[in-house]
C-alpha cells in the first residue's frame, strides 16, 4: 500500500488499529494522541496510535510503501511499533524505517517488556513529523467522525491533542459508536453501517449531538435500503446503504453543501477513503432508470462521488454510502486488472440490492419511470371506476362492488370510493413493477456459483454501459 503524505499514512495506521479492535470482538479502546511543542525550533507533532485489539502482525508494516518525492524534510520515515497478542508473554518493540525499500526493509527489534503474567493485547504505533497541530487535529477529527458511520459497536475512540508548551491547550474527544445503539455487537457490519449512516444523516454528518429536528421531525420516515455483495474467492465484500429522505426545503435552514446532489461516501477496509475509479464507473452503469432515477452527472469531489439527478422530486434527497472490505486481515491484494472489474461488479450489485431492498420495504418508493407514469393515471381510473359503480341505477350492483372494496354501501362518499380504487390500482402497479424486475433478474442467478455470477455481471455491465453512453458524452 503506497502513501504520498504522512497524514494519509496516519489515517491508514488509525484504520489498521480500528481493524485490530474490530477483530478482537471485545470491548476495545483506540486512542489517537497528538502532542506538539510550539516553542521548539522545528514544531513537530508526535502521534501515538494505540489500540487494545488483537496484536499486530508485522507484515502490515512490512508492506507499507511511501513515496518520498518532496516531503523528506517533514518526516524521518521512522515508525516505532509496540505490540503484543493475548497469548504473548511480553510486549515486543520494533523500529521500522519506511525510507528503506520494501525488499530490503529491516524491522529492528528493540528490547521487549515482560507482561508479568498480565493478559492483554494491543499495539501502539508512534511517529513524529513536522506539521501544524491544528491542521492535523482537524484532519484526524474529521476522519474519526466519518468512521463513526461504520458504527462498530465494541470500539471507543479517544482523540487527545495537546501543545505541551501551552497550558490548558489539551483537547479531548471520545467517539462512541454505540451511543443509542440499536444493533447488537455481533450484528453484521451492514447493520452497523445502516444504523451509523442514518445517524450521520440525521446529525448532519455527525456534526450535531442529536438528530436535527428541523430537518427530520420524524426520522422514522427515512427510507433505508441496504445490500451486500461478496466474492467468495478472495472474501472481498461490498456493502451499500441508500437512504432517501423527504425534507421540505422551503422552511429548512440547514442547507447541504452538495445541494440536491448525492454525496457518495466510500469506506475501504473500515476506513474513509477516496472513491476509486472502478466504483465511479460502476455507479455510472447502474440502471437507475429502473428505479425512476435519472442520473445526469457524476463527479469526484474531496474523495467522494457526487451524483447529479434530473427530475428528482423537490423535497427528496438521496444519500449513499459504500463500504468495501476484505473479510481477512491483513488484506490480500489481487492483481489490479481483475480487481478493478470485480470492484466494479460488486459496487453495482450492492447498489442494486440496496435499491431493491428499499423498494421492497417502502411502498411507492423507487418506482421505475414507467411505473410512475402508469401511476399518474390511477386518480383518473379511480374516479371513472367509482363513477361506473356509484352512478349505476342498480343498487344491488353498487352494494356488491363497494363490499368487494371493503366499504359500507350506505352513505359512502364518492371520494372515499375513488381513493380506495386508486390505492388498489397503485398497489397493483407497484407490485407489477417489483415483479417485472424480479422476472428480469431471475435468470442470471439460477445457479449459486461464484464464477457464473461474475460472468453474468460482465454481461450486465456491457448491456448497461450502452445506456450510459449519453452520460459519458
Amino acid at each position: 500500500m503506497e502513501f504520498s503524505s504522512v497524514n494519509t499514512l496516519c489515517f491508514h495506521l488509525i484504520s489498521s488499529a480500528f481493524q485490530r479492535c474490530r477483530l478482537s470482538e471485545q470491548i476495545c479502546r483506540l486512542s489517537v494522541i497528538l502532542n506538539s511543542s510550539s516553542s521548539s525550533r522545528h514544531p513537530s507533532v508526535q502521534i501515538s496510535i494505540s489500540d487494545t485489539g488483537i496484536g499486530s502482525c508485522l507484515k502490515e508494516f512490512q508492506d507499507l510503501k511511501f513515496s518520498w518525492g518532496g516531503i523528506t524534510e517533514n518526516w524521518d520515515g521512522m515508525l516505532r511499533v509496540n505490540t503484543t497478542s493475548i497469548s504473548d508473554t511480553e510486549v515486543y518493540n520494533y523500529q521500522i524505517s519506511l525510507k528503506e525499500n520494501r525488499s530490503s526493509r529491516r524491522i529492528n527489534r528493540l528490547p521487549s517488556h515482560q507482561k508479568n503474567g498480565a493478559k492483554f493485547s494491543g499495539t501502539e504505533v508512534l511517529l513524529s513529523f513536522v506539521e501544524s497541530l491544528d491542521i492535523l487535529l482537524a484532519g484526524v477529527h474529521s476522519f474519526l467522525q466519518k468512521m463513526l458511520i461504520l458504527r462498530i459497536p465494541n470500539i471507543a475512540i479517544q482523540l487527545v491533542a495537546e501543545d505541551c508548551d501551552v497550558p490548558g491547550s489539551r483537547y479531548e474527544k471520545v467517539f462512541l459508536a454505540n451511543k443509542s445503539m440499536q444493533s447488537p455487537i455481533l450484528a453484521l457490519n451492514l447493520e452497523h453501517l445502516k444504523s451509523g449512516f442514518e445517524q450521520y444523516i440525521l446529525t448532519h454528518g455527525n456534526s450535531l449531538n442529536s438528530e436535527c429536528s428541523s430537518c427530520f421531525p420524524s426520522w422514522e420516515h427515512l427510507k433505508v435500503g441496504s445490500g451486500r455483495a461478496c466474492c467468495t474467492e478472495n472474501e472481498l465484500v461490498m456493502e451499500a446503504v441508500i437512504v432517501i429522505s423527504d425534507i421540505s426545503k422551503d422552511d429548512n435552514t440547514c442547507l447541504r453543501e452538495s445541494g440536491d446532489k448525492t454525496e457518495v461516501l466510500y469506506f475501504k477496509d473500515f476506513s474513509p477513503s477516496t472513491i476509486p475509479q472502478s466504483s465511479m464507473k460502476a455507479m455510472k452503469s447502474v440502471h437507475w432508470r429502473k428505479y425512476g432515477l435519472n442520473l445526469v452527472g457524476i463527479a469526484q469531489q474531496d474523495g467522494c462521488a457526487l451524483l447529479e439527478w434530473e427530475n428528482l422530486p423537490k423535497d427528496t434527497h438521496i444519500y449513499i454510502v459504500l463500504h468495501s472490505y476484505h473479510q481477512q486481515y491483513p488484506t490480500v491484494i489481487r492483481t489490479p486488472g481483475k480487481k478493478f472489474q470485480m470492484d466494479r461488479n460488486l459496487v453495482k450489485r450492492s447498489i442494486k440490492l440496496s435499491l431493491d431492498d428499499l423498494k421492497e420495504k417502502h411502498a411507492g418508493a423507487l418506482l421505475s419511470a414507467r411505473a410512475t407514469k402508469i401511476c399518474s393515471y390511477a386518480p383518473d381510473l379511480g374516479k371513472t371506476i367509482a363513477g361506473l359503480i356509484l352512478t349505476s341505477n342498480d343498487l344491488e350492483f353498487q352494494g356488491e362492488c363497494l363490499s368487494l372494496l371493503g366499504l359500507q354501501s350506505q352513505g359512502v362518499e364518492a371520494e372515499i370510493v375513488e381513493n380506495r380504487i386508486k390505492e388498489r390500482i397503485v398497489s397493483v402497479i407497484e407490485m407489477n413493477d417489483k415483479k417485472d424486475q424480479k422476472t428480469r433478474e431471475a435468470a442470471p442467478f439460477l445457479f449459486d456459483d461464484n464464477r457464473l455470477r461474475e460472468e453474468e455481471f460482465q454481461e450486465i455491465d456491457e448491456e448497461e454501459d450502452y445506456d450510459m453512453m449519453a452520460l459519458e458524452d
Partner: protein
C-alpha cells in the same frame, strides 16, 4: 327491423354487460391483480396472398390484452372507461350522443377524436355490439333522393313526392320502418357535387331510382341505410366514384367495410354493390378531355400498390383489381365531373344510362347463367325504358 322493444332489450343487455365488466375490474383490484382485458381484433382484409385467409369470415384474427403493465395500455383503458361511463349514462337515460359530443366532454384527456373512436370500437368489441347500440350516433352526413318513402320513428321521409330533392340519411337506421319504393335500382355516388348534378338534371325523373351519397368516406348511418335498402328492396345497387385511389377506397368501404370498424363489418358491408365507374378505361371510351386527366402522384401510386394487395380483390372482385392495375399502368386519374366538361348533362344523359345498361346486361347474363336457361334481355338500344329494367 329493430323496433323500440328490441332496442330496450338490447340496452338492458348492454347495461348488464357493463356491470359485469365493472365488477370484474373491481374484483381483480381487490385481489391485487391487474385487470386483464381481452379485446378481439378484426380485420376486413389482409395482404397476405400466399396463405388462405379468413378475413371474410367475420371471425377475430387475434386479440389484444390490456393490463396495467404498460403506459399505452393504461392510457387506452383510461379513455375507454371514461367513454364507457358516458355510454352507461346515455343508456340509463335513454339518450343519444355523437362521437364529437363525447370528445368534448373530456377534450384534454382524449386529446384527439381518434382516441374516442378507438375507445368506442373497443367497447363495441368488448360488449359484442354495434356502435348504434351504445346510443352513439353521428350527426348524419349522407343524403338521399329518389323513389322512396319511409319513416324514421315518427318522422316521415317522403322523397317520392319530389324525387330530385335531397333528404338527409336517417341517423337512427334501426328505427326506419314502412319503406315504400318503386325504384329499380340504387345509385351510390361518392360526392355531394355529383349528387347535386344529378338532382339538377332531374335524374330521378328520368330513371326510377334512389340516389344516395355518403359525401366522401361514408359514415355508419349511410352504410347501414344502404345495407337496409338493399336487404329490403332486393334491387341492384351501383356505385359511382372518382377514378382515383380515394374513389376506389370509398367504393371498397361501401362494399367490404372499413378496417377501423371491421368488427361490425357484417352489418355494414354491401356485397351486392356493383362498381359502375369511373373506370380508367372510361377516359377513352367517353372522350374525357385530356386536360381533365391528372397524373398520379407518388402518394397515389403508393396507395394503389397497397390497395391492390387486399385479399378481397383477389378472391371476390378480380376484375376490380385489374382496373386498379390499369389505373397504375396509365398513370392518370380523373374525377366524375370530367364527364361534364363537354356538356353538363353528359353524366346523367349519356354516361350513366350507358353504364347502367351494361351492368344490367351483365347481371342479367349472370342471373340467366345461374338459372341455367336462356332469357331475353329487356334492355334495348338507345334510351332505356327503366320500368322494364328491374330484374327479379
Amino acid at each position: 327491423m329493430e323496433g323500440k322493444r328490441e332496442r330496450r332489450s338490447s340496452q338492458i343487455e348492454l347495461l348488464r354487460k357493463i356491470k359485469e365488466f365493472t365488477r370484474g375490474l373491481v374484483d381483480d383490484l381487490r385481489n391485487g391483480r391487474s385487470p386483464v382485458i381481452l379485446i378481439y381484433r378484426f380485420r376486413s382484409y389482409c395482404t397476405d396472398f400466399n396463405s388462405k385467409c379468413y378475413c371474410g369470415s367475420d371471425l377475430p384474427c387475434g386479440k389484444e390484452v390490456l393490463t396495467l403493465c404498460s403506459e399505452s395500455h393504461v392510457r387506452r383503458l383510461d379513455v375507454m372507461l371514461r367513454v364507457l361511463l358516458i355510454i352507461r349514462q346515455l343508456l340509463q337515460e335513454n339518450k343519444h350522443s355523437s362521437k364529437r359530443d363525447i370528445y368534448y366532454m373530456h377534450p384534454s384527456v382524449f386529446l384527439d377524436q381518434s382516441a374516442v373512436d378507438r375507445a368506442l370500437n373497443d367497447i363495441c368489441v368488448l360488449m359484442e355490439c354495434s356502435r348504434h347500440n351504445l346510443n352513439v350516433v353521428s350527426a348524419g352526413k349522407g343524403l338521399v333522393m329518389g323513389w322512396i318513402r319511409f319513416f324514421e320513428g315518427e318522422r316521415i321521409f317522403d322523397c317520392i313526392s319530389s324525387p330530385n330533392k335531397a333528404y338527409p340519411v336517417p341517423v337512427h337506421v334501426e328505427e326506419v320502418r314502412d319503406i315504400i319504393s318503386v325504384a329499380h335500382f340504387i345509385l351510390v355516388v361518392e360526392k355531394e357535387s355529383v349528387f347535386q348534378r344529378l338532382a339538377n338534371d332531374q335524374f330521378c325523373n328520368a330513371s326510377r331510382c334512389i340516389v344516395l351519397t355518403g359525401r366522401g368516406y361514408p359514415d355508419v348511418p349511410t352504410r347501414r341505410f344502404l345495407r337496409l335498402l338493399v336487404d329490403q328492396l332486393h334491387i341492384p345497387a351501383f356505385c359511382l366514384v372518382d377514378c382515383d385511389p380515394y374513389g376506389f377506397d370509398i367504393l371498397t368501404t361501401y362494399r367490404f367495410g372499413s378496417m377501423q370498424m371491421a368488427y361490425d363489418t357484417k352489418y355494414l358491408r354491401v356485397p351486392e354493390l356493383r362498381w359502375l365507374g369511373a373506370f380508367p378505361s372510361d377516359a377513352e371510351k367517353f372522350y374525357v378531355p385530356k386536360h381533365c386527366l391528372l397524373s398520379l402522384t407518388a402518394e397515389d401510386k403508393r396507395r394503389i400498390e397497397a390497395m391492390r394487395l387486399r385479399c378481397y380483390l383477389k378472391s371476390e372482385v378480380p376484375e376490380w383489381r385489374l382496373e386498379l392495375e390499369l389505373m397504375l399502368q396509365k398513370g392518370v386519374k380523373f374525377e366524375i365531373e370530367a364527364f361534364s366538361a363537354r356538356t353538363l348533362s353528359f353524366l346523367s344523359e349519356t354516361y350513366l344510362p350507358s353504364k347502367i345498361q351494361d351492368e344490367l346486361k351483365v347481371m342479367h347474363l349472370i342471373a340467366e347463367s345461374d338459372r341455367g336457361k336462356k332469357s331475353t334481355l329487356f334492355v334495348l338500344e338507345g334510351r332505356i325504358p327503366w320500368e322494364h329494367c328491374r330484374l327479379v
